[in-house]
Structure formats: structure tokens, C-alpha cells
């Protein structure tokens, strides 16, 4: 079998853009992938365009060789553009191999190691009462784990002590709404950037019983993250902003993390995520894939979760009203807070091209967060 072509698709889901790609073969099998939508997505599209001659004419089963060769020849350490392009390609190549052999991708990866895949539902609402109600509605659907931001709206403008107090109140409200049983993770999203404040905040929130504290420091600050982990008496989760197994190994060798959160759309893809998970296993670290983007990401994450021993829980944003659910077919939905394992060959998800084409990408950026004095903040 030989790769004959690669196509990228860029679509707007009502809130932000989604990137997809397809890899075509001379046997009529088409693989589906999704790179991370980073902002300047046209950069990713152009890298895929550039890489075409390295892939076309080659055996799609030589995944390690194809991706390594591309990475090595690009020479300089890749950032989010290059890693997202490679990750999207990796997913499509595994999809092709699964389809060629008539099995779900997790079979090729030595799985399944579990029968279903537990998810936590991310919930966002500026209103603390509505946040609790949203969680209760999801509980009624069977979800037993949630993730929320602890910060009240407009927190950047508030005195820090008020932020801590209000965050604790929000979280107490959420805990009260769902009861003692469910798992609640909180996402600091690297916005604090002062370790002492992260410690203070987590100390204030800890009585609400946290499944994990996510990104209490910038992922690039490994020593700081390690220090926070030594201070915390709750699990520290991080890793969505890292690329490539070597960087994850640095984080884990520094004892900086309890739960690693690679994103399959930019960490390097399924094969790289398998490597990250193997290194994590040797460090007693569990894996909770980051998964805020399109549904191909969800599919790939389910296959990873099914094929590794140290998977713990998967992020899921199923509730939003974005069009992204219509970009693929079939739509997967968790049952009782778990995804069932797919049984169709490959990743088990196809692009709904008419819908994707009817919703072309729009100009999008993340915006510039600022502090009360006008200086740059973090998003």
C-alpha cells in the first residue's frame, strides 16, 4: 500500500476553528487525522503541504520511520505548528492501518487493556449556581467526574485574597451540588505564574477534595512544577503544552507530576503518546489525555486509553453547542460516564465533509489577556 495524497480541512465550529486531514492510499483506504488548532492554523496547513513529498509514495504502515524522518529533516525543535502537523499525520496513518487490517486501532497497539473508558466532564459557567445545576444535570446522565475553573469571572481585576475566597466559595458550591462522591478536578491553566499563590489557592480549595490540580505553573517551568508537587497534598496534573516524549521524560524525572495530560493532536500523535505513557508507567504516573478539540481527538484518545495500563480518565467537552459534533460521523457519546470501545476498523470515525465545507474557517485568535495595569497576562 502506498500513500497517494494528503488533504487538509479547516472549519469553524461556531466558537473556534477545527483542523482535519485525510491521507489517501492506492488501495482506496483513507485515513482521518486532526492536528491541534493553535491560532495560526494556516502554518500547520503549510507544513502539511511541505511534508507531502516525504509521505506520498511511501508505505503508510512505516509510521515511526515516516514521522521520525520528517522530524529529523526539519532539524530545529518543532513548536506547536510542526508537532500538530505530525500528530495529525500520525492519527491518519494508524487509521489507515486499522482499516487495512479490519480492526480498531487499539488492537494494533496491543489492547484493549480495559472494557470502557472513563471520562470527566469539563463544565464552565460564570454563575456558581448554574455551574452546580449543570453538574447535577450531567450527574443525572451518569457522569461521576468533573473539571472546572476555580476562578470567578473578572478575577484578574480582583485583589488576590478575594480571588482565593471567591474561588473557594465557587468550589464549595459545586461540591455541595454534586455531593461527596464525584471526582472534581480544577484547572488553573497556567494563569497564576506565582508558585506561592498556587500553593495558597490549593490549600484553600483542598477541603473540597480535589481529583487533581491542573497546570498550577507554566509547563515550561519544570523545577517550579516539581516544587509545587512537593508542596501539594493533592495530585498535580499537567502536560498539555508539551511536545515529544523527551520533554515529558524531563518532567517525570524531576518528580514534577502525578497525572500526565498529553494532547494527541500536538504531543506527536498516538505512537508518541504510547511512548509517553510507557515512560509515565515507569514513574508511577497516570495518563489523563487532554481533549478539548474535535471529535477525532476524542476517538484517538479512546484508542490510547484502551491500549495502556496506566490510563486514568479522559477529558470530555460533550455538552457544548458547537457544530463540532456534526463534523464527524458517527457521533460518540459516553454512557454512564464511560465511552464504550469502538468495534469498527481504524479510529472508527469519518469526516462529514459536506458539513465541514459548509462551515469554513474564520479568522480566530485567542486574544490578549491583560492585568489591571495593562500588562500582558496568561490565557
Amino acid at each position: 500500500m502506498k500513500i497517494t495524497g494528503i488533504k487538509t480541512y479547516h472549519a469553524h465550529d461556531g466558537s473556534r476553528n477545527n483542523l482535519f486531514l485525510q491521507v489517501f492510499t492506492d488501495e482506496g483506504i483513507t485515513g482521518v487525522g486532526e492536528p491541534y488548532s493553535i491560532g495560526p492554523d494556516e502554518g500547520i496547513i503549510s507544513v502539511v503541504e511541505n511534508m507531502k513529498p516525504w509521505f506520498i509514495g511511501q508505505d503508510p504502515g512505516r509510521i515511526e520511520w515516516l514521522l521520525r524522518r520528517a522530524r529529523n529533516t526539519m532539524r530545529f525543535p518543532l513548536g506547536q505548528v510542526g508537532w500538530s502537523a505530525l500528530s495529525g499525520m500520525d492519527l491518519a496513518l494508524w487509521d489507515i492501518m486499522g482499516k487495512a487490517k479490519g480492526v480498531p486501532v487499539y488492537r494494533l497497539l496491543g489492547g484493549p487493556a480495559r472494557d470502557r473508558v472513563r471520562v470527566y466532564h469539563a463544565i464552565y459557567d460564570p454563575d456558581p449556581v448554574k455551574l452546580g445545576e449543570r453538574a447535577q444535570a450531567l450527574q443525572a446522565e451518569g457522569y461521576t467526574a468533573f473539571k472546572a475553573t476555580p476562578f470567578p469571572p473578572g478575577w484578574q481585576e480582583m485583589p488576590w485574597l478575594a480571588v482565593v475566597r471567591e474561588s473557594a466559595r465557587r468550589l464549595e458550591g459545586l461540591r455541595k451540588a454534586v455531593g461527596d462522591g464525584p471526582d472534581i478536578g480544577i484547572d488553573i491553566h497556567t494563569v497564576i505564574r506565582e508558585p506561592a499563590k498556587a500553593i495558597e489557592l490549593v490549600r484553600a480549595l483542598a477541603p473540597c477534595r480535589l481529583m487533581f490540580v491542573e497546570e498550577p505553573a507554566g509547563a515550561e517551568f519544570i523545577a517550579t512544577t516539581a516544587r509545587l508537587r512537593q508542596e501539594f497534598r493533592v495530585a498535580l496534573a499537567t502536560g498539555e503544552n508539551l511536545y515529544g516524549a523527551a520533554r515529558y521524560a524531563e518532567l517525570m524525572d524531576a518528580d514534577a507530576v502525578d497525572i500526565i495530560q498529553p494532547d494527541l493532536l500536538c504531543c506527536g500523535g498516538l505512537l508518541e503518546a504510547k511512548k509517553i505513557a510507557a515512560i509515565a508507567e515507569a514513574h508511577y504516573v497516570t495518563v489523563a489525555p487532554h481533549n478539548p478539540l474535535g471529535l477525532v481527538s476524542t476517538a484517538a484518545s479512546v484508542h490510547l486509553a484502551a491500549s495502556i495500563n496506566n490510563f486514568v480518565i479522559l477529558e470530555w467537552h460533550g455538552d457544548d453547542k458547537r457544530k463540532k459534533q456534526e463534523f464527524v460521523t458517527p457521533v460518540w457519546k459516553p454512557v454512564d460516564g464511560y465511552f464504550e470501545l469502538p468495534t469498527s476498523p481504524g479510529l472508527g470515525m469519518e469526516l462529514n465533509l459536506p458539513v465541514i465545507k459548509r462551515n469554513p474557517a474564520r479568522h480566530w485568535n485567542r486574544g490578549f489577556p491583560t492585568g489591571p495595569d495593562g500588562s500582558p497576562g496568561f490565557i
Binding site: 512505516r62 515529558y248 508507567e281
Partner: protein, 367 residues
């Protein structure tokens, strides 16, 4: 191709211990209700009947399970054993792991290396062990491997065979005479690894030995110390004048992970028949890759172990070189096919990818 629709269940797992003439070969076969079976090789740990007992113990719990669920079955065995397994249990676990990869590959009509993300190389470089009691005998044996068989890399002992009866200085001088003759016989370009086989004990002596032999430009020094103390191995590595290779006696991603963390190794040498099988060897290699380290699998066993290694070697970016020993007639007789693996067919005694079909069936797409 069985594909996804067919349910596959383990019906029986058996251990076959063969007397090959001067040692045991310990094979494991996993049978299924789908007509495919898988083969694996366990490390020859000494008390091999204990390995067979472990196979029977694991088999009791695996019968009825799907052998293609490798990651899950591995964890069931390892975590189910509760106490750290040790040599005989890990030899059994490793061999059962091989049988599951074999079954998965056969069920999908794929060579195992394709399941591992495909081949990253077209042929596998190997080194051959070389021995000789005198400098002349060593040189003659080396010439045979290099000139007649085409090897471009060899491995030998850094000390004379009777070094335990000598003073240390005599032993080092004897080692120098051997290495000098060997280097002269094969020329300046052949890679020569040295295997101290964990026999030296004292870190300072290992440094003296390495310093005394460094002018003969060794490829690596293997296991200069016992394997228990990873920290001491790390201290030694910082002083080594050339690469330090070790890891054959370490088990699982955990122990080899400690070695990496202590910065105690340049070239990792896990053994696929005792480290925890192909599943575990891959995990060790991933960790090594993330630390920019290479893997040269230990491989003193039979032809089946060699084939299993070749699948790993083909698919692993940070593979360096494969240990290889020409099987005895007795060993060769314990497997069918695969002869082409160790018959010199190319100038450098490297197995061709298309010849690896004794373990998994030939791919329908050819080599």
C-alpha cells in the same frame, strides 16, 4: 486473516524444555480456539523447571482470555503476582508475552514489527562473540568472523580466561595482549565490545581495566560491575573513557528506568526473554529514547529469541546493534525455518527483513 469479528480465546499454554546438547532451550506455546498458536522463548535461568511452574500458574488464570489483549494480560500477570517476580517468573511472563505478539501478528497477517509502528530500517546490524585462550587463537577466531562471515562488530572478554588465578596486574596485562592481537587481526575499523560479565566487583578496578584497554578503541565495556547497585554504576559511567553498556540482568521498565535516572548507562542491553517480553522491551526503549540513549539487546539464547529481537530492532529508532551467536546444531534443531537468519547472505551478516518469517507468517505484501 482472522480480523476483528472472530473471538480468540486461550485454550492452553505449555512449556517445552529441550536439551540442546549443552544447555536447555525453554519454549512456551500458547494455543487458542481459533486455530492459531503463538511461540515464545523464556530465559534459561538455571532452575528452568521453576519457569515451567510459573507458566502453568499464569496459564491457569489466562485460559479463556483473549491473547490479543497483550497490555491487559501482561498487567494481570505482573500485578497478579504481587511480589516482585524475579528471574523464573519474569522468564515465564516474557515468553507468554512473546506468544501473544505472535498470535496477534498471525491473526492480522502482519509481521510483528508492523504492529510496532513499522520498520525504521531495512537490515539489522549484528555483532558476534569471539573467544580464544591465547592471543593467536583469539585473532584467528576473529578473522573467521570478520573475513569469512562478514561481521563488522565483535565482542570479547577484556580479561584472560584464567584471570582469577592471576594477580590483578597480570590479568590486566593479559587482557592488553589479547586486545592488541585482536585489534591487529581485524584492523582499525571493526567495532570491538568488551564484556566484563559483572565479574570485577570493584569500581576502581573497572576504571583501571578500561584505562588500560582504551588505546585499542573499544566499542563499549559491558557490565563492568555487578548489577545491583545502580548508583555505583552511575559513578563509574562518569569516569569511563568509552561507552558503558549494561542492563541484561535488570528487570522491567522500573529497574532499567532507575539505571537511566542514575545516568549509569550509555547503551542499554535488556534481554527480551527476561525483561518482561517484547511489551516491556519496547517500554524500556521508549524511556531510553527520551533520554537520547541507545539499545543493544542482550541475546545469548536460541534462534527464536534472535527472531523476536529482530522484530524489535526493525521497529525501534534508538536500536544500536544486535548481539548474535551462531546457534549450535542442537539449538537450530529446536525450531523450524528461519535458517536464513544466521546463514551469511550479505557481506555484513545482517538478516534481511524479508527473511523474518519463521516467527510470523510472511506478509501478503511480501518483504
Amino acid at each position: 486473516m482472522l480480523g476483528q469479528a472472530i473471538n480468540v480465546k486461550i485454550t492452553r499454554i505449555e512449556t517445552l524444555i529441550a536439551d540442546t546438547g549443552n544447555n536447555n532451550a525453554v519454549y512456551v506455546r500458547t494455543h487458542t480456539d481459533a486455530g492459531v498458536h503463538g511461540v515464545g522463548e523464556a530465559y534459561r535461568v538455571g532452575p528452568d523447571r521453576a519457569t515451567a511452574e510459573w507458566v502453568a500458574y499464569f496459564a491457569e488464570q489466562l485460559v479463556g482470555r483473549d491473547p490479543r489483549e497483550i497490555e491487559r494480560n501482561w498487567a494481570l500477570m505482573y500485578q497478579g503476582a504481587r511480589f516482585p517476580p524475579g528471574s523464573s517468573a519474569l522468564a515465564a511472563l516474557s515468553a507468554i508475552d512473546h506468544t501473544m505478539w505472535d498470535i496477534l501478528g498471525k491473526s492480522l497477517d502482519m509481521p510483528v514489527y508492523e504492529l510496532l509502528g513499522g520498520r525504521v530500517r531495512d537490515r539489522i546490524r549484528a555483532y558476534h562473540g569471539v573467544h580464544g585462550e591465547s592471543p593467536r587463537k583469539l585473532a584467528d577466531a576473529a578473522k573467521r568472523h570478520v573475513q569469512d562471515e562478514g561481521f563488522s562488530a565483535l565482542k570479547t572478554s577484556p580479561l584472560p580466561h584464567d584471570w582469577r588465578e592471576m594477580t590483578w596486574n597480570e590479568a590486566v596485562d593479559g587482557g592488553r595482549r589479547l586486545l592488541e592481537a585482536l585489534r591487529k587481526a581485524v584492523g582499525p575499523d571493526v567495532d570491538i565490545g568488551l564484556d566484563a560479565h559483572a565479574a570485577v566487583w570493584e569500581p576502581a578496578r573497572a576504571i583501571e581495566l578500561a584505562d588500560a584497554l582504551t588505546e585499542f578503541t573499544p566499542f563499549f565495556m559491558e557490565e563492568p560491575l555487578r548489577m545491583e547497585n545502580r548508583h555505583k554504576m552511575g559513578l563509574l559511567r562518569r569516569k569511563m573513557p568509552f561507552a558503558l553498556a549494561t542492563g541484561e540482568c535488570l528487570y522491567t521498565k522500573f529497574e532499567l528506568g532507575e539505571l537511566i535516572r542514575e545516568q549509569a548507562v550509555d547503551i542499554l542491553q535488556p534481554d527480551v526473554c527476561i525483561v518482561g517480553g517484547l511489551t516491556e522491551l519496547r517500554k524500556v526503549a521508549f524511556n531510553a529514547e527520551a533520554h537520547d540513549l541507545t539499545v543493544a539487546p542482550h541475546n545469548p539464547l536460541g534462534p527464536l529469541a534472535t527472531v523476536i529481537n529482530l522484530h524489535f530492532d526493525a521497529a525501534t529508532t534508538n536500536f544500536l546493534i544486535q548481539e548474535f551467536r551462531t546457534p549450535s546444531e542442537g539449538e537450530a534443531a529446536t525450531v523450524t525455518a528461519g535458517q536464513s537468519l544466521w546463514t551469511a547472505t550479505s557481506p555484513c551478516q545482517r538478516a534481511q527483513v524479508g527473511a523474518w518469517t519463521s516467527w510470523t507468517r510472511r506478509s501478503s505484501r511480501g518483504p
